[in-house]
């Protein structure tokens, strides 16, 4: 029992970051109908950007974080303008290939700048240590990461609900043509979506870089968040949050209880096998929208 509670608590902490990444996927998909596989690489970019600012340039924390966010914004603008806009109107395969390619491209760029070395923030970012609540040990960096993720998601929801641009974005989610006819600049909306997604990506990158260290393989977490989205459906932010938290807990429980029974590394296989099952029985995810096809 103790074990289960420990695992669930830790899983929820990690689930916060998954939720953050998953929301990044959803934001872009809702607006542009492009599934951005490269969201995974944004995590790596965020982690390394913070490393560069915080450790190499020895900036104060606030400046380093601001720099990283700025990198996220710039990346979002660049990607949208250079890669995605020329692809508007092309068949579904084109954005899939481009975003997958972009993932590898960013990996290559990071390799070029930083080499294959593994880096870390040492003790310069969030405080280390742990809180003890009963028998549960709450690692501080994990709890901070969870809180920061939730704050970021909350800010995003407020942006959607409270601002003019948020309203425009919500309209665009429904239908591009209608939005355009209403005088909404759909291209601007796309731009905003990409920027938001990239910023979310670099935030999760900073948090993950702190927890796991900077390495080009950080994008694995991003790939796993794909499984989280399928729990929640591709088009719902609430679903992504629930999916992320579920995935975190599910992974913890899998490893805690299933892994001793099975050989090898189940961390990638189990979420994806689970996702495959969900897809077979619920082809649009658990809470996804079912589209009526017309002739």
């Amino acid at each position: 029992m103790e074990q289960i509670i420990k695992l669930i608590v830790l899983g929820l902490c990690m689930g916060g970051i998954y939720a953050l990444v998953a929301v990044g996927y959803v934001v872009v998909y809702k607006s542009t109908k492009v599934f951005n596989f490269a969201q995974a690489a944004m995590i790596t970019v965020g982690a390394y950007a913070l490393y560069q600012a915080l450790i190499v340039w020895s900036l104060p924390i606030w400046a380093a974080v601001l720099f990283t966010l700025a990198v996220g914004v710039a990346l979002g603008l660049l990607v949208e303008r250079l890669l995605m806009r020329p692809l508007i109107g092309q068949p579904i395969l084109a954005p899939i290939v481009v975003t997958l390619g972009l993932m590898l491209l960013l990996r290559g760029v990071i390799l070029m700048i930083f080499g294959g070395q593994v880096y870390g923030y040492g003790e310069h970012f969030l405080p280390l240590g742990a809180w003890h609540v009963g028998f549960v040990t709450l690692p501080m960096i994990q709890v901070y990461a969870f809180i920061i993720s939730m704050v970021a998601i909350f800010a995003l929801i407020q942006f959607y609900n409270r601002t003019r641009m948020g309203l425009a974005m919500r309209v665009t989610h429904e239908d591009h043509v209608v939005a355009q006819n209403l005088g909404i600049n759909v291209k601007r909306v796309f731009q905003y979506s990409w920027v938001i997604a990239c910023v979310l990506g670099v935030i999760s990158g900073m948090l993950l870089g702190n927890i796991q260290g900077c390495c080009v393989e950080l994008d694995v977490t991003g790939l796993m968040a794909i499984a989280a989205i399928l729990f929640g459906g591709l088009e719902s932010i609430g679903g992504a949050i629930v999916g992320g938290l579920t995935l975190g807990v599910l992974q913890m429980l899998t490893i805690g209880y299933l892994a001793p029974l099975m050989p090898g590394e189940p961390i990638m296989m189990v979420p994806f096998a689970f996702m495959l099952l969900i897809l077979i029985f619920k082809p649009y995810g658990l809470f996804g929208l079912v589209r009526i096809e017309r002739l």
Binding site: I92, I96, G101, L102, L104, G108, M268, M269, L276, P283
Partner: protein, 353 residues
């Protein structure tokens, strides 16, 4: 196509109209090309032969994804894993049953085809993006099973296997004999793929790709057609894998990473969807670029000492992606389309249209 035909070549029968090569010149050129490919086996060194063998294997595997994604329109991000299944079926047949490569090779094709069909079966309900997710899941599951089914696959240690047994006194341990075998197989597979594309099932594939709802209402069973696409594509992947594993004489689970699946898809775009020629171009380009990346590293390290490691290390990733993106943005129909334009302008010269 008609506009690309020269004036003066006309068909008198439907047999002529549906032939692959319709003029004597085309026949002559393709015969010369094939003879040349066979001929250079005896002047190339081991390195070039090996490179060509790898290219031939990847052409066959690339034809597989061309059939699944290019013709039938079912996006798969797990193709490298299907190739890997082919390698492992061959290796297991050789290691556990003691059968030779000649038996193992078709079994590898069939095994990979069946696995591919199994993971393609969600395509009955899933489309496009969701199918891409499902095949991504297939990649992880296949890799997991292979690296953990130790009694069958030897786990992560891999399996050694042997080259084909000598046939008619030809010893395939000699590099150029294996090259000839790979070339023959590759040409045969290209011929099969070409025939598939121009007959009944190929048209059904394209129908499903272009408009699956209409295809269903117009008498094509789309589920079985999609399954067949996965099966046949997987068969090609398996044969490619078997050719490749036979050349390396060893298989390991690290030989088909996820990145390869992405390159398969990406270079398919570069080559051009729905064309056999495009698949061939894609595989040749991919493997030649690979080799160029290897060859460039030492050169770079002399030009840019210090930096060289990092520049060259990322060369393949950055360069390949840029090529793919440039093609998608500027020429989404790939090399194949450009090639057709070049052919047309040659034929129509001096007229523009």
């Amino acid at each position: 196509m008609a506009i690309h035909r020269p004036c003066g070549t006309f068909d008198r029968t439907y047999y002529e109209a549906k032939a692959i090569f319709r003029t004597r010149l085309q026949w002559g050129m393709i015969t010369a090309l094939i003879l040349a490919l066979y001929g250079i086996a005896f002047v190339m060194n081991d390195y070039l032969l090996g490179l060509s063998i790898v290219i031939f294997s990847f052409i066959v595997a690339m034809l597989g994804i061309q059939i699944i994604t290019g013709y039938a329109g079912q996006i798969t991000i797990g193709h490298a894993a299907f190739v890997g299944v082919g390698m492992y079926v061959l290796a297991c047949v050789e290691a556990h049953l003691g059968w030779s490569w000649w038996v193992g090779m078709p079994l590898a094709g069939i095994g990979a085809g069946l696995i591919s069909m199994f993971f393609g079966s969600p395509s009955g309900r899933l489309k496009e993006l969701y199918l891409a997710f499902a095949t991504l899941a297939a990649h992880f599951i296949i890799v997991y099973v292979i690296s953990n089914w130790e009694s069958m696959t030897g786990g992560v240690d891999g399996i050694w296997l042997s080259r084909p047994e000598p046939l008619l006194g030809i010893d395939f341990m000699v590099e150029h004999n294996y090259y000839l075998l790979a070339l023959t197989l590759c040409i045969a597979m290209i011929y099969l793929a070409k025939n598939l594309a121009r007959t009944k099932l190929g048209r059904a594939f394209v129908a499903v790709r272009d408009n699956d709802i209409a295809a269903e209402v117009m008498g094509i069973n789309i589920f079985s057609t999609k399954l067949l696409a996965f099966g046949i594509g997987g068969f090609f992947a398996g044969i490619g894998g078997a050719m490749y594993a036979g050349y390396n004489e060893y298989v390991n689970v690290e030989f088909f990473p996820l990145m390869d699946s992405i390159w398969f898809l990406g270079f398919l775009v570069v080559g051009g969807f729905g064309s056999i020629f495009g698949a061939i171009c894609a595989a040749v380009l991919w493997k030649c670029l690979d080799e160029m990346a290897t060859l460039m590293t030492p050169v770079f390290s002399q030009i840019l000492p210090g930096l060289a490691f990092y520049v060259t290390a990322s060369f393949s990733l950055i360069m390949y992606t840029l090529i793919i993106v440039i093609f998608l943005v500027l020429e989404p129909r790939g090399i194949n389309h450009r090639w057709n334009i070049i052919k047309a302008s040659y034929r129509l010269h001096p007229f523009a249209y």
